[in-house]
Each structure stands twice: as C-alpha cells, then as structure tokens.
Assembly symmetry: C2
Homo-oligomer: 635 residues x 2
C-alpha cells in the first residue's frame, strides 16, 4: 500500500526555474537529440539508432539488412529515452509536429518487432540465434525496459497506445521465456524491473508485476549464473567479468545486501524497482533492504552534490568514505537514478530525507550534466577540475573540464531530458486526500484526488513559496533539512506548526493562500572526518544549491584560496544575465602566495581577498578553467 504516489505527468504545468529548463528541453534538446538519432547533427558521434530500427524491420520482412546495425548493444535505448522525453514534453507543451514525428518513430519500432513479440535491433539484425544467451552483457531486458517506460509516458501524454501494445506484447514474450518456460536468469543491467512496475500501474496486467517480482526475487540467488551463462554462450560483447557479481549487484539475494556496490546506475535503477515493489506489495522485508541500501549511499557513499559512484573503474561505488573530487565519476545518470530511488522510497514512507536527497541530486549533479544552452552534456561530474590535470592525467581522463557534444555511449543526455520534462512527478505526490509538495516548483498542479492549486516561486533563488488554492484538501509540504528557520502563513496568518518527519501538514480550503518562507542564508558545509579527501575543507551552499569557485571569477586560481570561517558572505542580487539567471556569493577569503618549485620551508604569505562562488550546476559554461567545490578553510 503506497502512502502516496507520484503525481501523473499531466498534473503539473510549470513556470519559473523548472519551466525555463523544460522549455529549453522542448526547444533545443529534443530537436537536437532527434537530429543525433537520425545522424543529422554536425560534428557529433554517429548514432544510427533510428536506422537500426528501419534495418531490423527490413530483416523481419525478409529484405536485406541495409547498412546493418551500428552502435552499442544498448543503442535502442537512446531512442526510447528520447521518446520518453518527447512524451513528457508533449504533456507540457502540445506540439502536433513533434507528435507526428513520434508516431512515425513508433511505427518504425513496431515494424522492428518480431511476430513473437521480441524487440531488439542488435540481435534482430546481427544474429537472431544469440537472443537471450547473454543476459550479463546483452542489454535486451534493459532496452525493453526503456521502451516500456517510453510507451507508458506516451500513452499517459497522448492516450495513444500503439507503443504500449507493442511493449505489452514484448513483455508477454519475456514472460513466456522466464516464467512460462522457466529459463534461468536476471537482467545484467537492471532497468526493466522499474519499467514493468510502471506498466503494471498503467495496465494492471499482473504479468508485469509477476515478472518484476521474479527478477527481483531471483537476483543473486545463484551468484554464479553469469559465469555459467558465459561458459554456455561462447561469445561476448565487451568481455565483461561474470565473476564480478558486486558490479552487477548479484553477489547474494537482494534482501541480504547491505552496501551499495557496483555500477552505480545499475544499482539505483534496481533499488528503485525494489522500493516500488515494496510499496506495491507491502513487502516489509524488501523495504528494510531498501532502507539499508539508501543509508549506505546517502550516509557513506555520496558526494555533497548528490553524485554517486566514485570511480571510473566500472563506473561504480567503491567503499565507504572514498569520495575523491578530482577523479570522481558521479555519472549524471546515477544521480537521476538516485532521484528515482528517492521518489519510490517516498511511496513507502513520507520522510523529508528522501526529498532532501532528491533535491540535492537534481539541483547539483543532474543540472550540471547539461550546458546552460542545452547543447552539451557531462557524463561525469567531478567536484574539482584543474586544467592540465583534469582530462589529461591518466587517472583523470574521464573528468573533462568542459562538456562534449554527445557521446558514443549516450545514456546521459536523453536521461536528463526525460527527467527534467517529468519533474512534476518528483516534485508532487498525492493520495486520496492529500497533496504532497516534495520539491518546490512554480506552476499549476491538478491532482487526480481533485485538489488544484498554483505554486508561485522563483526557487531556488527565491525562498518565498506561495500556494494559491483552487480546490482544497490536505497539503503536505516538505521543509528542507537545510532550512534552519522557516515560516508558514495561511491567508496572511502566521501559524505555529510542527513537522512530522520533515513535512508540514496543513488542511486547506478552496481560496486559501499559503505562504512559506525558507531560510536563504548561505551555509558553510563540513564533511565527516572519515572522508580523507575533505579534511580541513568547507563547501558553500544556499538553499538546495551547492556552490563552487571557478577560475574565471577568481583570478584564474582557486587552488590558492582559503575561505574564512567567520567571514562575511554577500549574496548578489539575482541577475538574469549571469549564467542564464543566477546569483553569486562573495566570501571573505585569504589567498596563499605561491612558492618556487614544489616544496618550501617557509609558510607562504596569506593576503585577504574576496572569493566569488557560483552555483555548481552552472560550472564549465564559460570555457575551460579551474573549478573547486570543497575549499580550504582558514580560521
């Protein structure tokens, strides 16, 4: 029994800060990404994904395969994620041309589905015999999962069910393979589990639930499954190591796992499904496992930016308190997955800790994943960049100082697009009698339970949030843990109110005006002394935004700056022309003189100065320069 559930994608029509991003996705990202999928974007890695669907259709019709398959084994998923983003965009901004484009793509996808419901261009074009022989590396279930998510989103947005029917047939094909025929195995890259649960909610088809449960319950029961599979199959995609069961979260049954391990995106996609299944089926033991994994991530293995996965080696979690900033991986997709996980945890238990992390991941790592103009993307989100080392040293090749256009493995850009366009689902929840405001987002909200209201705010730069109620009920507003002080007023009357697990619960009537004021004071942050990387350092935050220091604002040298612990912090006025609308913070600091050579005996002179910080999500938008989140502190 879910305590509350995500708002539908049609519940929220946005304005403000989020709305600006959603329009950017609609106007720039979706058209650009579509041109990439069609190989029409200049100076960009070849995608071929749409051609793959066309060619798979040809093969199924008995024609030649055209120019065959090109790309990663999971290339299909790029189309699925774009399609999902386009669906969400259509729910916000109806657009006939885009809808027509999507319908055409869906027709190509439908034509690429085999009679038995199988759908995957890699295997259909290259070798039908290899179907289902390589769950470890093969990504068939992963691609199906993403297409199921797209199908649900498009149905929700438009009511059109062509793709949903395609994916139900595909689901039945998978059901037959794993359930009816009882073939052993579980997904190499978790994703379909969460997608099946989405499709279950929409279609009420019990096979979806059963299949998701099957994959979650059998995972790790036979930790040698991938090895056995490898012995049988005799072929490989990238020669992955099937014995590394931590990498794929398959070392033991999920209910026994305590540490977040392995490939970070796989981990959080899996945990998301676990949390969804726990609330869907009242599975207390599964929720307990989710709680342990949540704690492992958020109390021991997460960057202050909400980034997760410390190492490029396996794009993975490492060990507790190992959080290097300069060699961080912190993949954009992993933080998106962390938001998914948080959102599903909220369906088990309405607790402010989930919204706090969801916000942290979104306003910092997820937004940093995209350039402010929507044209370039980070896969990897370091907390420190030093040109000459970052992107150059052998250990720092993955930590780029500026965003590239597109990637051969292009999971992150479309993931950002679908997350931003569906932001309302993460910001708002509901149950029979209550509207839940997990995050603050300007816009109109119209829930299935009949409640309707408008939220007005310039958040995250404005700390006044006003709700104008059209149809009342109960309102549950998350008060962020970072807001040490806050004030709530209804119809101009300040209320004395207390929080329940981080939420303020208010009965509201039609016509009420609710005004919330949060604490806008910038805050120095301190890290656990168990994190070797961060001893002696401090970071600057304001509201949900982590700030950082870039060379361009600081004489091209942020390394020699120390922030004064008790120094003044001056917030600039919100400036529409700064980084597409932002506010900087000026901090009392000391600049350390440099020495000749590497090491010296004499303490370097320190000169007082001002250091300028900008929000982390805006870094790397003004060319290659130094960037640092965690700064030295001086007393």
């Amino acid at each position: 029994m879910k305590t509350q559930h995500q708002a539908s994608i049609k519940a929220y029509q946005s304005g403000g800060f989020i709305g600006k991003y959603q329009r950017l996705i609609k106007d720039t990202v979706i058209p650009y990404q579509y041109s990439v999928l069609n190989d029409k974007a200049p100076d960009t890695e070849k995608s071929h994904v749409i051609q793959n669907f066309i060619n798979a259709g040809r093969v199924l019709r008995g024609e030649d395969a055209g120019d065959g398959f090109y790309g990663m084994v999971f290339q299909d998923s790029d189309a699925a994620k774009w399609l999902e983003a386009a669906a969400y965009s259509l729910s916000l901004f109806p657009d006939k041309d885009l809808e027509e484009t999507v319908d055409k793509l869906i027709a190509m996808i439908a034509a690429a589905q085999d009679n038995d419901g199988y759908l995957n261009t890699y295997y259909t074009i290259k070798d039908k015999e290899k179907r289902w022989t390589n769950l470890h590396e093969g990504h068939e279930l992963y691609c199906s999962g993403h297409m199921m998510e797209a199908a649900c989103a498009y149905f929700e947005a438009t009511g059109k069910d062509t793709l949903l029917k395609v994916m139900e047939r595909n689901m039945e094909h998978i059901y037959r393979h794993f359930i009816t025929e009882g073939k052993e195995g579980f997904p190499g890259h978790p994703e379909i589990e969460l997608a099946l649960l989405k499709m279950y909610r929409l279609t009420n088809n019990s096979h979806c639930l059963e299949l998701a449960q099957h994959f979650i319950n059998t995972r790790g029961e036979n930790p040698h499954f991938y090895e056995q599979e490898k012995e049988r199959r005799g072929w490989s995609v990238w020669n992955g190591n099937p014995a590394d069961t931590d990498y794929s979260q398959a070392s033991k049954p999920l209910r026994e796992q305590k540490d977040a391990v392995g490939h970070a995106v796989r981990a959080v996609y899996l945990y998301t499904a676990m949390a969804d299944l726990a609330s869907s089926t009242d599975d207390k033991a599964l929720f307990d496992a989710c709680l342990k994994l949540w704690e492992s991530i958020t109390c021991k293995r997460m960057y202050i930016t909400g980034g997760i996965g410390s190492t490029v080696l396996g794009e993975a979690f490492t060990v507790d308190y190992d959080l290097p900033g300069d060699t961080a991986y912190a993949e954009t997709c992993a933080s998106i997955g962390l938001m998914f996980f948080a959102s599903r945890m909220l369906e088990n238990d309405v607790d402010g800790i989930y919204g706090d992390i969801c916000e942290r991941a979104f306003y910092n790592t997820v937004l940093a994943g995209m350039q402010l103009d929507g044209k370039r993307f980070f896969y990897v989100n370091p907390l420190e960049v030093v040109p000459g080392i970052s992107g150059s040293a052998a250990t720092h090749k993955h930590d780029l100082p500026v965003r590239p256009k597109w990637y051969a493995c292009a999971c992150c850009p479309p993931n950002v697009a679908r997350l931003i366009t569906s932001f309302g689902k993460y910001a708002y929840g509901e149950n029979d009698d209550t509207a839940f405001c997990h995050m603050f987002a300007d816009g109109e909200i119209c829930l299935e339970n009949g409640m309707k209201f408008t939220c007005k705010t310039g958040y995250p730069y404005d700390f006044h949030i006003r709700y104008e109620i059209e149809k009342g009920g109960n309102l549950a507003i998350r008060i962020p843990a970072w807001s040490k002080t806050w004030q709530i007023a209804v119809n101009g009357q300040i209320l004395e109110a207390s929080l329940r697990k981080g939420y303020l619960y208010l009965p509201i009537a039609d016509g009420d005006r609710v005004e919330l004021t949060l604490d806008d004071t910038p805050r120095f942050q301190y890290a656990s002394t168990k994190i070797p990387e961060l001893t002696g350092k401090t970071a600057l935050c304001r509201g949900p935004l982590v700030y950082c220091f870039e060379g361009i604002d600081n004489e091209d040298d942020v390394l020699s700056l120390s922030l004064k612990r008790s120094g003044n912090l001056t917030i600039s006025a919100y400036d529409e022309t700064l980084l597409c609308g932002s506010a900087s913070i000026s901090v009392d600091a000391m600049r350390c003189a440099n020495i000749d050579g590497l090491y010296a005996d004499t303490a370097p002179a320190m000169t007082p100065c001002k250091a300028i910080a900008i929000p982390y999500y805006t870094w790397g938008n003004r060319g290659e320069n130094q960037m640092r989140v965690w700064m030295e502190e001086t007393l």
Copy 2:
C-alpha cells in the same frame, strides 16, 4: 670529463645508521632472498629463477628442459640483482660461505649462456626463435644489463672475473646484433645503457661505450619502431601498446625530450645512462637534456618523499603537479633510480641539488620500501593510508597498508638490497685531489686518490658529523639545503666559510679533525599551490627525514588532526627501542570533532591536543593503521 666520480665499492666501510642497515641486508635480506630465488622461503610467491638457469643449461646441453621456465619474462634479473647485492655485501663483510654460494650460482649462469654469447633463460628454454624479436616487451637487454651490473660488482668485490667474462661475451653478442649486423631497435626497458657504461669503466672495452651510445642516440629516432616490430613478430608478452611511446620514453630523440614521462623506473634508468654518457664523453647537449629532465622531475613531478611516478597506470609519471598521496605509485625502484640519476648528474656538475634529492629519496621512499626487520617490502609507497580505503577501493588496490613478503614481480626487494649495500658509492665521490662527501655516513673511507679518513656520526638522528683525517687533501662537503644554519670547525677552530653550489671546500692535512654541525630544527614544509592535492596542508621534516603521523600514536585517527602553524615542536630523545632506533616529534595540534553522516552545517569543534610524528621510513611497522604525511594546518 667527469668532475668527480663515485667512490669504489671498497672505499667505504660503514658504521652508524647505514652500517646497521647493511648488516641487516647481510644477515637477513640476502639469505632470505636467496631462499626465495630457490623457492625455499615459506608462504612466498614462487620464484624459480635459479631453476630457470639450471633448465636453460640443460636445454643448451641438448637435455630436456626439466620443469621449464617459470615467472616473468624478466625473471633472470632477480638473480642478477641479488647477486649484485651479495657482491656489495662481500665487499663490506667478507664471507666465505656466501662467496661460495655466489660462485655456484655464477657457474649455473655461465652454463646457461649459449655458444654465441646469448644469455636469457626465458628465450633459451621457451623458444630460441623469438630472440630479439620483441624488444618492446621482451626484456632481454634489461636482463643482460642487470647481469652486467652484477658482474662488475662481483669483480670489484672479489677480483673474480668468471661472470664478467660471461657478460663481456654477452655484450659482444649484442654488439654484433645491433652494431655489426645493424639490426634496428633500442631497449624496451632501459637498463643495459647504464650497465654498459659501468662495464666500460671497468674493462675499457670500447664496444661497451659504443653500444651504450648507440642505444641512447637512436632511441626515439623512429618512434614507430615498436609498432613495426609488433607487426613483424606476431606474438606478445603482455599485449603492451607499442604506440604509447611516452610509456617507453621513445616519442622523440632523447636530446629533444623535456618532460619526464612514462614508466618511472624506465625513465630514471635511462636518464642515469644519459648523464653518465654525458660526463664520459663531454656531451654538453646530452647533459642539457638531462638537466631539463631533472628539472621536470624534481621541480614538477616528485613527492616530498622523493617518490616519483604518480599513477599505477603504467607505473608512470603523469603530468605536472599531479601528486596524489593516497593513490600514489612512487615505486621503491623508481626512487632508487632517481638516486642513480642524481649520482651521475654529480659526475657532470658538483651541485648540492643532486645530493639533496639523493638523500630525500634514500631516507624516505627507499628505506620505507623495506620493513625494519628486512623481511617485508613495499613496491608502492603512498603518502597517505586509510585502512578500509587503501588496498580496498578499486582505485587504491595497489596502495597497501602493510608490506607483503614478496612479489611475483619482485624487482624492488633486491633493488633495495643492492642500493643499501653500495651506499658508499652514492655517499662519497672523488677526483685526483678531492674527496666529496655527498651524503653523511659513519664509517671509514679510503679513496683511490690516496685520501683516507673516518666519519663519525649518528646521522640522520645526530646532526654533528666529525671527520678524522688520516691522509689529507681537499675535502668537499655538501651542506644540505634544508640546513638553514651550520657551523664548521677544523681542529676546534670555527671557520668562516662560504659555499660553492652547496658544497664547502676545505684543504685538510693529515691528522686534522673536521667538525660539522647541521641544523636539527624540525621544519614545517609547504607545497606549491599548483599541487591541488596539497593546498592548505603542511608536512613535517627534520634533517633529511620526512615525518608522518600514524594512527597508533594518535588515537587511531590522524584524519581529524590539524597541526598548529606556530605551535611547539618537541623532539624526543633518540630512542634505541623505538622503531629500531628513532626519534619522534610531538606537535601542537587541534583535533576536529566528527559529525554524524557525511555532511553538516555546523563547524565542528576543535580541541587542542598533541600529535605524534615518526619518520616516514618507519611507517607500517606496527600493523595496519592510518598514516598521513601531509597534514591539515590550522593558524
């Protein structure tokens, strides 16, 4: 023309700190390593190196290969380095049994040499046809180089020339291949170049010089040589990338190289030979190249401990100012090679900068490479260790918190043994009329130029160095750059004296007593602000010793300590029972309170305390615990 040259290995008979280490090598390390080479050491990686020589001899006599070859392609070099250490040990401590053991081993080696002078057990046992087809990975020249060094050392120590003759024949074989027959190529792993120059000095055989010159002059002229070789050969040892010419210092001719790049040990072995050749042949252009490479290392790419090579990826140099402490590679062998390089630079130009670095590398990284009992060894020498992360996280697997017994790739342990037993060559130099004291070492010195004196000191814990002159001449004493103040007295009379390039030059007569007093004040060290890793940090040194902080002395938590910039430093009395004879330093510090979870808003409380530091070379001798060299500093 050499300004001065290394003292002969018989010039120095040691006492004091170095003597204690030399006896440890003789009593413990040489017997232990010999048992390893014979596969008789319990719980130790199989070596098989002596059996390889026996089996190669069988093959050459037309018998079967016994149990064949086992080990790395460069396994032979383990025997060579042990043999070289044994030779130096015999020059210090005559020992009939050891000499007999060495003679027997030499006989086996001689029997493993082919009629044409070829000597390498890997190729002789496995596949004679593959000789000289894989210079990139094959290590034939590397193994020959080490055996040449061993041959020179044993001849110098004992006057016995069996191995020297074997290696002269081997040299002539190589000369025929590369010079007479004009086969293209240069060593994959430089080493033979420096060995040839040693052999040249001993035998005056001009082919040695010519061959060394050839390898140095042709290296990098054809940067595609390894690639062309790979195409021709069709086999591989470890599938190395021949196009990575930085890795093997072969991207361009050596005289044009400016940055120290690639595999750090290869680099410094090569630079050593370059510097030796420059002084041997008055090659000014080559010396200029050496100077640039020296600067690249010591001014931009060296740890404070004299460690070099920042990354495990290729065991290599990375880029300027990239000096992470926790993921450091800083291989023991690389710092030994840096001492070689420094020593040969001194033969071009007597400048204190070379002795300073030589001392830094020796007293910190090289000595840290061996456990105080001589039974365990570090290959990798991090500057920070945190159990739970070090040796555990994927990026920290190589940084072990305690020394293992032996390694499959066992280059470092015998390298430490041969360095320590030949310490006198690095500490003392001479020319016709002058004795050079590059480093301070208790013992008797008897030079070829007729000078003879005794040095008495408890250095590096005692900063009084007394020279008692038996046969006089000129004395040149390096005054370390770290010694801000010093005093020199001859026969009790304090002299006003000035330094020339860091050296004090004194005419001394028979019977003179020279007394030098150096500055024993502990010093805080500060790093360039260009090193991102070290901003805000300080390290503690005294004399040549870098100090570090271990958990065992500091409540199991060094991460939360900050050192007070102007705090008191208290040096303990020298304690014979502490870490085999040492002195700790107590420092005024602050301990930072920890927080719950990962990040907090409030500045953690700081409590004054004392922090205890021990010399870096002694770390990891009291079980697994935290260790940190660079500490947070507080004002």
